[in-house]
Symmetry: C2
Amino acid sequence: MKRIVIGIDLGGTIVRAGAFDEQGHMLSAREIPIEAPRGPELGLRKIQKLIEQVQAESGTDSLVGIGIGSTGPVDPIRGRIHNPFTLPTWDDVPIVEWVQKAFNVSVTLENDADVAALGEYWQGAGQSVKKLFAVTAGTGIGTALIEEGQIYRGMDGLHPEAGHTILDPNGPLCYCGAHGCWESLCAGPSIVRDVLKRDLSDSSLLQMAGGDHEKIDACMIADAARNGDPVARQTMEKAARDFGLGIVNIIINFVPEMIVLSGGLMRSSDLFLPAMQEAIEAHSILIPAKQVRILPAQLGYHAGLYGAAYTIWSTENEQFKR
Amino acid sequence: MKRIVIGIDLGGTIVRAGAFDEQGHMLSAREIPIEAPRGPELGLRKIQKLIEQVQAESGTDSLVGIGIGSTGPVDPIRGRIHNPFTLPTWDDVPIVEWVQKAFNVSVTLENDADVAALGEYWQGAGQSVKKLFAVTAGTGIGTALIEEGQIYRGMDGLHPEAGHTILDPNGPLCYCGAHGCWESLCAGPSIVRDVLKRDLSDSSLLQMAGGDHEKIDACMIADAARNGDPVARQTMEKAARDFGLGIVNIIINFVPEMIVLSGGLMRSSDLFLPAMQEAIEAHSILIPAKQVRILPAQLGYHAGLYGAAYTIWSTENEQFKR
């Protein structure tokens, strides 16, 4: 019977599950709202049912393990989620132990940025890249470093948060405690905040938002910038410049062979990438930054499922090891 | 007969050599001026003689290998030094091949920041630390990451230069091409440049320098700051704040277990470390930065010799491998 692994991607809104064979084929996949504020017990029961459905639909009974990627912070060593930020009420939830008991297979827990990057390493844009860096820019900026197929881990297995490194000490205050961290300068909500600080009387934005400031979102700002709206344009140009400087810092700190970009911001890649290339050109004196390949991610919102499954395959099978 | 390895530390001014046994004892050491602008051939002959002397003084003939740490950029894979910045005339010098021919033993070449960090890992402040980050701040800011005793290498074996990551896009232009990189904000020459931009009419600095602007150096500024000179104090406070932000970025990017600090700036650690601690306190929301141990290096200017020797021992002896 065909052996499968199930990958879980637990986000703040949606939880997804997918069944994968050893060759990296996704045999079945499903998603449901996690409704985190209703508590971890309901959430865990939802996850259990999702796993059962995906396994049934995969057409096999031979489940080797379950890999979980979750919106951070997670504790991969103790197998616990403690996330007051995006999973309210999920305080110190022993998800690995719980899923292990329910299915009696090996279970892993990793940060969602790490598993998305691993997915791209296994079956996406970064296949076999020795030093692969991944940047997901949307509501926030998440990052991951994959070294020869292994997740980079800091002290106590902690996941670094390069999205919160300081890029401009005169920038806005972020919830992380920093002024002008990368995320505070160019994630989606930061772009909206920046535009709202400007004089919008000559801008088309208010009209686009039906006269309601609160309805202005990053996509709208990008569209207005494309249509030549001067305020939207200035805002996007600043965000794009800062995004480029953040990418330059990643290159100088890590000198990866490849950077894979994903997330909502990439829908505005026409606005972001030229400024990024310009920044890279200007900062190639000490490090040949221009030689770093920068590519869009290939697996979309399934990347996390692939990577979560890979965390099991890579420990089960010698062939996956370096 | 006792087996030894010789470590070389090739700087822009001085070249040092030391002989080490497997237990990490330094049996002999010597140094001479490299006189780089007189050309690599003279330099290589000087290095050969230095190795011969150190080996003779170590009291053994059994030379296992020679590890070289050099002021960067170096190419550890091809064994070549190409350094127009601090070793003028040393253009694409095949130092590994040359030393190998002269002594018929295995020879390695690494960046000097990497070998200094390895030295601290082997016999200094960072012994057995799984993720060890080293920062040398003086004329410039050099950095290194040691993962379980292995040098972190980027694309093509390149050494990352975290000292040149951007910290303030409104800061001064650095030779690296960036505005406001870490080094441009708080290395020694940057502190001097910053003070010279200020109004010195109420400062004791000009008097300390005998009336000559050009004689003001970083040590003088630190002394003046300690004595309450307001201009010197403001300058040092800004540099210390920026140094602290740079350390915060290292922690957020790498989450090392330990950061080892060395270099001339550490002579002013009384002025730098309080601001660093303050910055770390303020940025511990997402990453428990306060838990990262930050210690002064222990091996002083011998760190590079230890680490260069270790590059040979760690490949020769299984016991050194993880």
